[in-house]
Symmetry: C2
Subunit: 583 residues, 2 copies
């Protein structure tokens, strides 16, 4: 338990730092947790519940000093999507499905952590995750426009959301619209204009930033006052009564049907939540020269989700915006999360009655502003220039997520990343190489001015030899040999080969026989240790028609001394020719 580590050296300065960070995060988290519960289609108090016990659990099991755990936008959207598909009858069932989702996700994360399977998250490529988050942000923003317009917009894909928005265009609630637009303008102003203004008024930069962060809470306060003052409570959708008090502990209903229906969405939520959380945690840890342990993080997030589940919450993870705030506000240890939980608890006990008249349009505005920062299209531009295949994976993920929903988006992203990688490695770059004059170094004959021999075909295959490319390499070598009948030696430079699988070994054995029947030697140079070990074990090198050379220069200077022993390289060649072959 990481808490036993940092707990031992916990000091009063740590306490002050963590406390002040906790106050600021609490102020930020109250409107956010209400808003994300709304986004997930859950009663507002569920957002508050998900911001208490999970933070305590993460404080005990997590490794990041600054990660702030709780309900986040993308996971809330995925929760809404997963439960929406179940089309359950009443609100109780909808809620128990959310609780079950948190439990399943928590157990999965815990198991992944215990079995040290954190590396699985690596199979989601970064650009694909960015694409997914862009699309999720667009879906979230669109869905929240329903609240701004005061009409019920629902759906899990962009076309359905848009259709439901346009379908309700005649029912637009002008009060909701005015409150929503005002909130949007106010929140944008707070983000962009308030901090410089406060600084201009002489406040310190830190204080100005902290006051700006209270913007959403300020919007909440002002809108409640306005609704009460103008008696708008029955003219606009408001949050309504929130149960006053802390969540009670209970095990979720363990219905097998529900587990069967929810395990796959729970898995996606776990993976996306973990990837998001770890990338935030790593970014922040790197700034303080700290390190987080991804398998322990899985355990921390697993514990947080189980805690969310048994205290009536829904899936949580480490959020980007709030963690940055936590970091900037000086959080020194995970205890800051614990103090935040206490803050939310006090708020739940004391302030919930005052939230009755909070318009949903204000919460929707805070969500829209929060997710707009997720929609960073530069990843599309960068990948277009760097790698077309990455671009298409991202673009496809965005399109599939928007038009088919978040689950298909995740599936498409993973599949596309893997398929494109395999396709690229199945079409390897094969360079014919020659000696760079006055060195012992070999480079591509097409790119460099190099020395070659008419007797030797020196090839560098720029990829592992495995089932997806072995046949192709065999074919290319044979085609190349047909063009130059004088060649007596094929030397494969194996610098790029870290793996030769059984399929490729079979192909090499046949190639060796083929070359032998034509009195052409097959040689290897610069074989890596582990690869050579395995070829020796398979007894392939015993009946090789050629030799294995430690380095390529040794190979060619021994096989064709006339070409390679000219005066300019003679000095070194003299030695290499003798010790070049080490079998």
């Amino acid at each position: 338990m990481p808490i036993l580590g940092w707990g031992k050296t916990y000091s009063l300065p740590h306490f002050y730092q963590d406390m002040s960070a906790a106050v600021i995060v609490t102020i930020m988290l109250i409107p956010q947790s209400l808003a994300y519960a709304l986004l997930a289609g859950l009663p507002p108090e569920i957002g508050l519940y998900a911001s208490m016990m999970p933070l305590v659990a993460y404080m005990i099991f997590g490794t990041s000093n600054t990660l702030a755990v709780g309900p986040v936008a993308v996971i809330s959207l995925m929760t809404a999507s997963a439960i929406g598909k179940l089309t359950l009858t009443g609100e109780v069932d909808y809620l128990s499905a959310a609780v079950m989702l948190a439990l399943l996700s928590g157990i999965m994360l815990l198991l992944l952590g215990i079995f040290r399977l954190g590396f699985l998250a690596n199979f989601l490529s970064h650009p694909v995750i960015s694409g997914f988050i862009i699309a999720a942000g667009l879906l979230i923003a669109t869905s929240q426009f329903g609240h701004i317009l005061g009409i019920a917009a629902s759906g899990q894909t962009l076309p359905i959301l848009l259709m439901s928005l346009f379908g309700g265009i005649n029912d637009v609630n002008s009060v909701a619209l005015i409150i929503g637009i005002t909130s949007l303008i106010f929140l944008v102003y707070v983000r962009i204009g308030l901090k410089p203004l406060l600084e201009a008024c002489g406040l310190s930069s830190g204080l100005a930033a902290n006051i700006s962060r209270a913007g959403p809470l300020l919007a909440v306060f002002m809108s409640i006052s306005a609704v009460q003052f103008f008696s708008l409570g029955d003219k606009v959708a408001v949050v309504g009564s929130i149960p006053q008090g802390l969540p009670s502990f209970a095990l979720p209903d363990l219905s097998l049907d529900m587990i069967e229906a929810l395990w796959l969405p729970a898995f996606f939520i776990s993976i996306i939540g973990f990837v998001e959380s770890v990338s935030v945690g790593q970014t922040l840890a790197a700034r303080k020269n700290e390190r987080i342990d991804s398998n322990q993080e899985l355990i921390g997030l697993g514990a947080a989700n189980i805690a969310a589940s048994v205290s009536g919450g829904y899936p949580v993870t480490g959020g980007f915006a709030r963690s940055v705030v936590n970091f900037d506000a000086g959080a020194a240890t995970p205890a800051a999360g614990g103090f935040t939980a206490v803050g939310i608890g006090i708020a739940t006990l004391a302030f919930t009655p005052y939230l009755y008249f909070l318009p949903k349009a204000v919460l929707a505005a805070t969500i829209i502003i929060a997710v707009l920062s997720l929609i960073d299209l530069s990843v599309l531009k960068n990948s277009w220039f760097y790698s077309k295949s990455d671009f298409f994976a991202i673009f496809g993920t965005i399109i599939v997520t928007l038009f088919m929903g978040v689950e298909f988006g995740v599936i498409f992203g993973v599949t596309a990343s893997i398929a494109l990688y395999l396709y690229q490695t199945s079409q390897p770059h094969i360079a014919e190489i020659g000696l760079v004059p006055e060195t012992q170094h070999f480079r591509n004959i097409l790119r460099h001015n190099v020395i070659t021999s008419p007797l030797i075909l020196s090839l560098r295959v720029d990829e592992n030899l495995y089932f997806a490319n072995a046949e192709l390499i065999d074919k290319m070598i044979k085609e190349r040999l047909e063009k130059s009948p004088d060649i007596r030696h094929v030397v494969l430079n194996c610098t790029s080969i870290s793996l030769i699988d059984a399929s490729a070994l079979e192909v090499l054995e046949n190639l060796n026989k083929f070359l032998m029947s034509r009195s052409i030697g097959l040689h290897f140079s610069e074989l890596k240790g582990p690869v050579e070990d395995r070829l020796l074990k398979a007894k392939f090198l015993e009946h090789l028609s050629g030799q294995v050379f430690l380095h390529h220069y040794g190979a060619v200077s021994q096989l064709d001394p006339k070409t390679y022993m000219n005066p300019s390289v003679l000095a070194e060649a003299d030695q290499s020719a003798h010790d070049g072959s080490h079998i």
Copy 2:
């Protein structure tokens, strides 16, 4: 059309060669096509139909001179499995499903060929295919034991087949058992003992081999005589009446339901059939120094399957045993296949009435003997020693195929091959390298006696940098740096890096910033051309804290001349230090 190529130079010697090969293949194919139809659960004449028009179509579109196309064991099993799952009512529907399967498979193969997607077959690794064929062979042999015992054994997995065999153990038909066992012993003897005996009697080796190949036909002839002589026709299951005449042409019923149910099995049949056929074709072509074009082969096999479908047959492909016989018997051009088709046609017209009393037990015995040669367990042994991950992929494929059926077997095999490859590349070998004395060559410090510098960390990552391993590499570098605080330069030797994807680029950018903040230079050596091009385009190299060096020796000798400029290497170093960096 390949026929226009070889057709132009067709000569009388070709004709004699093709004719004699066709006679021998026809003799072999008559009992085989009846037997495989039985295995597929189809009436015996369907096997004959599948051995006529498909051969003509392949003669026109195929590229192998010796491949013999027709019904084969594994594809017949897959056909039985695909149609068995439909649980259709009468035999007519069962038959039209088989015809539809051939049509779908033919269209898929044709499309794959037209769009030049033959490389997709590379994603089935060789050992996994071997595993699949071993398991299919075991399933086939087990299912045929039902006919030998004279009881109805059905099922698509080993446990169900065995249960149905043991369930019928009280109904064993002693006549079928005697005929079956006798046939098995006779066929084994023909395989092992007859050829040497004939040679001992003074026959030439070729003639002896050809007579041995007639063994199954001899078994057919003798068993029919025995059944007639002892009047056993009502005591044992016989083939019964076979329609006398050539197949009529018709388009299959294009029912959408059936297409929906059969497209996935048809896809598996296409892929397995193609892989089997191409590997046979390539093996035989290599012996005669010929080449086959895998995309044209797809077109040839596609045409063959469409021809099978419109002439009332079922899926076909190039078979191993018959192609070897065709090759040994001297087939010179694809015309041999056309002549075989004529031979089967004559047999269908003239001899089918005589097959009435042919016991099914005899056909089952020919199948069992034929598939026993498929069950080659050496692949398990070899892979155990060469590569544990290949071993587990094969073993898993065998188990899944035996216990869950052929479709799951194929899916498992492909998934396991890809997953294991990705897992291996996600855990790359990273070698710290040093200079081999008196050369310019760098090797692993753990395996070789090399020169290193306290200021420079020289690392060679033995894998592409991509999403699945980028984080891990970053972590390993940082951990290594913590151990040696003196290091001022990290030089990544990029000989093994053929690809840096966008995820890895992001990681490198962060690593560069991290190292810069610690005044450590990040350098690259021996970057491959295409990789460097892309890094330049992404403007990564512009803000790199270090340099890019053409070769590793140039890098270290410039970064730490004190260590690397000692007298033993001075001669070369002098030049390299100047031209080493090329940016």
